[in-house]
Symmetry: C2
Subunit: 240 residues, 2 copies
């Protein structure tokens, strides 16, 4: 499995992804699922990958190769909508190439992405692109998008991720959401890659990896547990 989250706040965007890939519990590995396309001062695009690793790596390779060639590509398009369509085009190209062979082995093409960022002249935007290449965009009613093992971590995001939340508070919330997910699903694992993007900066200035045993992450986790136990204790008692 995988767990990826993209958040769109008034203040900026948050992206986070785990790094575990596996083919059964007896075969797991670490791969980074976050890819950044940056042209500082002009655009920042972040892609979070879920699904089969061969498929997502192939899509990213195609996007990178195209970005070095003739426009249109992720470095040239004028809108995030066009960028999402380019990701979909790359996914469909890989599916056309590999799909029939996967079917021969009883498998199917399986890749999906969260794409977010900002291009100069446009507002920040955040999309979830499905395996078929169609996509949805986050809005103020639903300011976060998840892929992979989304259920364990969702209630915690629901608590504190609103468009007006600060980048700082929502980031803590996203990290706690990862901790909750990893506690219940072994197929989601550290390290966690985190990127926070402050609106209109058009540059990556806050990017960080959390490995197992990270002092900040562990402290956050313990203080969250202690804090919420205190909240439960202080909630009004039920009268029978």
């Amino acid at each position: 499995m995988t767990y990826c989250v993209g958040v769109k706040l008034d203040e900026g965007l948050i992206f986070a992804s785990d790094s575990r890939t596996h083919a059964g519990v007896d075969n797991y590995a670490k791969f980074c699922k976050m890819t950044v396309f940056e042209n500082a001062g002009e655009r920042v695009l972040v892609l979070l990958s879920s699904g089969g690793l061969a498929a997502t790596q192939a899509v990213i390779n195609v996007l990178r190769q195209r970005a070095a060639g003739e426009p249109p590509h992720l470095g040239s398009v004028a809108s995030m909508f066009d960028a999402a369509n380019l990701v979909a085009d790359a996914m469909r190209a890989i599916e056309r190439r590999d799909g029939p062979y996967l079917e021969g082995g009883g498998l199917e093409f399986n890749a999906s992405f969260i794409l977010g960022g900002q291009i100069a002249g446009e507002e920040m935007r955040l999309f979830r692109i499905y395996a078929e290449g169609n996509f949805i965009e986050a809005g103020s009613d639903t300011p976060f998008l998840q892929t992979g093992e989304a259920k364990y971590g969702k209630p915690i995001l629901d608590l504190a991720v609103t468009p007006s939340a600060t980048l700082e508070d929502a980031t803590k919330c996203v990290l706690v959401s990862f901790d909750s997910t990893m506690l219940s699903n072994l197929s989601v694992g550290m390290p966690i890659d985190l990127l926070c993007y402050a609106r209109d900066t058009l540059a990556v200035t806050m990017k960080r990896r959390f490995d197992a045993g990270d002092a900040y992450f562990d402290s956050l986790k313990h203080q969250w547990i202690a804090g919420t136990r205190k909240v439960f204790h202080e909630l009004p008692a039920l009268e029978w």
Copy 2:
């Protein structure tokens, strides 16, 4: 779907179940999923049902009819282990009767239960009985058992439900776990039936139903959201 939780604390047991049944989103209804077998001063047994309503109702009818006849039955057995076996026997009897007809319609027998309680002379015990009639028992490492839509509500139970938690605090936690689940899965719905059993009392003294708009439930929910947002805000900020 359904959401049921059974908790075993040092102080007592907690049982909670939602009341929504459905066959597609265009066909849903309310049915109580909590059944109590009580002989005050001698035994309290609580059964929470998940699965097909025809199956779970049939099992409960069989158990009730048998309890009015010759032992062994739920009112006579000397241990919770024997009680769990009786539930399994009733499930298997219904499956033998209905299973082949369900298969004819492309369906399968689908019923599972959480069973907990205390019989005089024995400690409190809590079981989860699978559709096949085999079962597991909660212990100090895993003091709660869930059925149905378990993922959304689990991280919140993980936060505060430990064997040494008070019945009062763990009850608030269970209710918040239901709220989180209902927020994300429409097939889990109010009213919520709640029963708290205080160790060695051998009687039901705390049983309560929460309907939509319940003042205590709503207040708990709002104070929980406010409390956790404060916790997020007070957690140490990430330094980049």
